[in-house]
């Protein structure tokens, strides 16, 4: 090749450069194989990888606060959480509108549940306030109605707030009753002159049309809309000037009356409904968790928490996850080692015996493998419990007294024993398949050259079986680290794993964010260990057969 210079490019018969032709052929080959695996790849991506990432993504997701309380969250930015004082009246007014809308959509309780993870008591604060929020603006609704009964008429509001085009569309629709009602559109005049009212009335109309299937032309608005109108008119006494006809007359009349209206402090109403609203600490939690993404779940998963003053560890009586991670790793290592200790001689025996005996032995190894996991775990209960078979035998032969029965289950010992048994085949099978390939002639050669049995095994046989140990150890360790059924059943309190807490948060406490964060940490821990293993042992040294 050295004598081929650049101007003497090798070409194929039809004159194309050989390199390009080869690349093309290879590309075609690759494409073809890609297309062959495409169905499986797409299937795995859609049903396995995508859902896992979707789940893991929940560990940082936190849009619920800003989506449920959009107005409040914006105003809260101005508020200093460190001041120890509750926010001003404007924040409570915004909260009134947000919570009114949220309670109609039944979203306030979800938000309460979310924030309750951060501070106890917020759940019921939202739930109870949600029951009373509809009355908060009643004082305004009553006064507008007393001023002019027209304010109780849904059509007054439609004429005031809706765009002319929508009113025309709606009338055409009402005459024909064809299809769904046209989507409500606010009038630009109303948005400019009465911003708060337009905002909440728009939300009201959207809720009616989308959720209830009702028309704004038939329903009197929420009391909160009246409160917003009061606020707008008090802010802008000239509001009526851009309106015309009946709308202008109604508004002019209202503007004149508004200064004499009895008012209600939203702050007082909220605190009256739930003391918690007067606690700056609760507001600090809302502010701290208002961004769309939060490190909060990851911090919880590491026994830390986010406070207005920054990062700090949780009180000692709530720290559990780091300890559980540590215990999971420790017990998994112990289980892997005990699997290796028990599995190695069996695999050796399997590989050394003549085929007809080794097949029988292999079936014995596989038999428990085919038995239900729950059955095997329950069988260990029968064997290991204090009134169980093993203790009974030990008492009977006099090794222990009746009062001194051993505690071998509902603790870490139980977990180790049961899981070692369950995971043993995963160690034996890779070991066996590697040992099968080790030629007995090497050991014989070593012995004939004067090695003792031990030296022949340790210096000649064992190094050749290391790839099997690697494969078995990785399999067992990775399976063990994510196990939860067996630890749950036989682990008591000292034998449970981090996966038990993940399962708890998925199916019981519904704190999926925290479960996702714990799961992500576990995944990262496994990947790190895997990389370390690759560095030390080398993944090329792992063989499954």
């Amino acid at each position: 090749m050295s004598d081929v210079t650049s101007d003497q490019v090798l070409t194929t018969q039809d004159g194309k450069p050989l390199k390009a032709a080869l690349a093309k052929a290879l590309r075609r080959e690759r494409l073809r194989s890609l297309m062959l695996i495409a169905p499986l790849l797409i299937f795995i991506m859609l049903t396995f990888v995508a859902p896992i990432f979707d789940m893991l993504f929940r560990s940082v997701e936190n849009q619920i606060v800003s989506e449920t309380l959009p107005r409040t969250v914006v105003l809260l930015e101005e508020w200093d959480a460190g001041s120890g004082e509750t926010p001003g009246e404007d924040v409570y007014q915004a909260l009134h509108y947000d919570l009114m809308i949220a309670s109609e959509y039944k979203r306030h309780t979800q938000l309460g549940t979310r924030l309750n993870y951060e501070k106890t008591g917020i759940s019921s604060m939202f739930r109870r306030t949600g029951r009373r929020i509809a009355d908060f603006g009643e004082v305004y609704a009553d006064q507008f109605a007393a001023l002019n009964p027209a304010w109780e008429d849904p059509m007054t509001w439609v004429n005031l707030m809706a765009s002319d085009a929508w009113i025309a569309d709606q009338q055409r629709w009402a005459a024909s009753q064809d299809g769904p009602e046209p989507t409500f559109i606010l009038s630009e005049t109303a948005v400019a002159a009465l911003p708060a009212t337009a905002d909440i009335y728009g939300a009201f109309a959207e809720f009616l049309q989308m959720e209830e299937g009702d028309s704004p032309t038939d329903e009197q608005p929420w009391n909160a809309v009246y409160a917003a109108l009061y606020e707008d008119l008090a802010d802008n006494p000239q509001a009526f000037s851009t309106f015309s006809g009946t709308n202008a007359d109604l508004l002019r009349e209202a503007v004149e009356a508004v200064p004499t209206f009895a008012t209600a402090s939203m702050k007082e109403l909220f605190i009256d409904a739930e003391d918690g609203w007067g606690d700056a600490g609760n507001w600090a939690v809302i502010k701290t968790f208002s961004p769309a993404y939060t490190p909060g779940y990851f911090l919880s998963a590491a026994d830390a928490q986010l406070t207005p003053d920054g990062l700090e560890m949780k009180p000692e009586n709530q720290q559990i996850y780091l300890f559980l991670f540590y215990r999971t790793l420790l017990l998994s290592i112990v289980i892997t080692l005990s699997c290796l200790l028990l599995g190695y001689p069996i695999a050796y025996l399997l590989a050394a015996l003549p085929l007809r005996y080794s097949n029988l032995l292999l079936i014995l190894v596989l038999l428990p493998f085919w038995t239900s996991l729950l059955v095997r775990t329950s069988a260990w209960k029968v064997l290991l419990q204090q009134q169980g078979v093993i203790n009974d035998v030990l008492v009977w032969i006099g090794l222990i007294t009746d009062a001194g029965r051993l505690v071998m289950i509902n603790n870490a010992t139980g977990t180790i024993i049961a899981m070692t048994h369950i995971l043993l085949p995963f160690m034996i099978l890779p070991l066996y398949s590697v040992m099968k390939t080790i030629s007995p002639t090497y050991v014989r050669a070593a012995k004939s050259l004067g090695a003792t049995d031990w030296t022949a095994f340790w210096r000649v046989y064992f190094p050749q079986s290391v790839p099997g140990i690697g494969a078995g150890a990785i399999l067992v360790f990775i399976l063990a680290i994510g196990y939860y059924i067996t630890p749950e059943l036989v682990g008591g309190t000292s034998g449970i794993f981090i996966s038990n807490r993940i399962a708890f948060h998925i199916s019981s406490s519904l704190n999926w964010g925290l479960a996702a964060a714990l799961g992500t940490l576990l995944l990262v821990a496994v990947l790190l260990l895997f990389m370390a293993y690759d560095r030390i042992v080398g993944i090329d040294n792992v063989k499954l057969g």
Binding site: Y105, T113, S123, S124, Q386, E488, S509, L510
Partner: protein
């Protein structure tokens, strides 16, 4: 003309097919003896009266909240009626996963005309909830323990008394109920329990009381564990649901007796998932009207020792379908058993569950 006939026939077929599919209902319950009692008392009579309807059972109640949330996110609700405990019903209602219902409109009145909401009374703990039964979490103890010298526990605090009643106990692996019992036995008055438990000192006090027996406790997470542990003599006293103890004592004839003192009442009942189609909802409503009337609720007690949730059902409770024994004395609501009961505060636990659970787990791990 011919084409039109074919199209019409096709449409008719499609409708028939649609109907046949809609007549299949999926109910979710707990499995075991409890689900059996529901099948016998509600589902079989209903299917006998409505031959077109088939009811399929899914034994997923213990993770119903998580599964309903996942179904809701996926936009595909495959369950029509779900049996859950009261605290789960409250959570499902909070999350918007269960439908709010009008009890008087949807359920049958009592035979004497009392409205359904009055007949169920306080047991309607959530707007989404239709209670079926009252059960209790209480203790059972072995009657053949030599070390007790012939004494038997008759007070909840005997559970915490290792000197008079040595031996292992089994308690549920969660703070609910255990914290309350610990405080009650630490001298807190029944009405103050939750006020005390709200404070850091109160929680420490409950944990300190539990610490006195911690080394003798086997923690359970499934209701079947305590009966098994009692039968195996692994524990001498254990908490579980009263129906499980009934079957251990009466059906399996084990030397175990009930300790009714300070039993904690709880409810089990139906919720309707949100987002059902009109047809399925109509079917579910029809079933519910049938299955929650006074007589049906009383019928369920023939198969399991849980008290019917309607006040009007209580006098109709009769004998066990197979054993033939009177069921009333085995009901948690029976006056002799209900001399000292404890009402579990759902709303309080909705607030404190996350916090106390973290502390409880940390305490267990220590």
């Amino acid at each position: 003309m011919k084409l039109k006939t074919i199209v019409m026939a096709g449409t008719a077929l499609a409708f028939a097919g649609g109907n046949a599919a809609a007549q299949e209902l999926t109910f979710v319950s707990w499995g075991g003896a409890y689900q059996n009692s529901q099948i016998k008392a509600y589902a079989e009579p209903y299917m006998a009266a409505n031959p077109g309807v088939t009811i399929i059972w899914d034994e997923s109640s213990n993770e119903a909240v998580a599964k309903l949330r996942a179904m809701n996110e996926a936009g595909n609700i495959t369950w029509d009626l779900v049996d859950v405990v009261a605290s789960d019903a409250i959570r499902l209602c909070d999350e918007g996963l269960a439908m709010e219902i009008d009890h008087d409109e949807m359920l049958a009145p009592a035979p004497d005309g009392t409205s359904a909401s009055e007949d169920f009374g306080d047991l309607i703990v959530s707007d989404c909830y239709i209670p079926q039964i009252v059960y209790s979490t209480t203790f059972g103890y072995r009657t053949d323990v030599d070390e007790w010298g012939g004494n038997t526990p008759d007070d909840i605090c005997d559970v915490f008394d290792l000197e008079a009643f040595p031996g292992k106990r089994s308690l549920e692996k969660r703070p609910i109920n255990n914290m309350e019992w610990a405080l009650l036995c630490d001298g807190v008055a029944k009405e103050d329990v939750y006020d005390v438990l709200e404070t850091e000192e109160g929680q420490d006090r409950a944990f300190a009381k539990l610490d006195t027996i911690k080394d003798s406790v086997v923690w359970w997470s499934a209701g079947a564990e305590t009966p098994q542990l009692l039968a195996d003599k692994e524990v001498v006293i254990g908490s579980t649901y009263n129906g499980r103890l009934f079957s251990l004592i009466e059906e399996q004839d084990q030397p175990v007796a009930m300790l009714w003192d300070a039993q904690v009442f709880d409810l089990d009942g139906w919720i309707i998932p949100t987002g059902l189609s009109e047809e399925r909802l109509a079917l579910v409503k029809d079933f519910l009207y049938f299955a929650t009337d006074t007589q049906r609720l009383a019928d369920q007690a023939k198969f399991i020792s849980y008290g019917p949730a309607r006040a009007s059902s209580a006098p109709l409770v009769s004998t066990h379908a197979e054993l033939g024994i009177e069921m009333a004395p085995h009901m948690p609501t029976d006056p002799a058993n209900a001399q000292n009961t404890f009402l579990y505060n759902y709303e309080w636990w909705a607030d404190y569950r996350d916090d106390l659970d973290a502390k409880f787990q940390a305490w267990l791990a220590r």
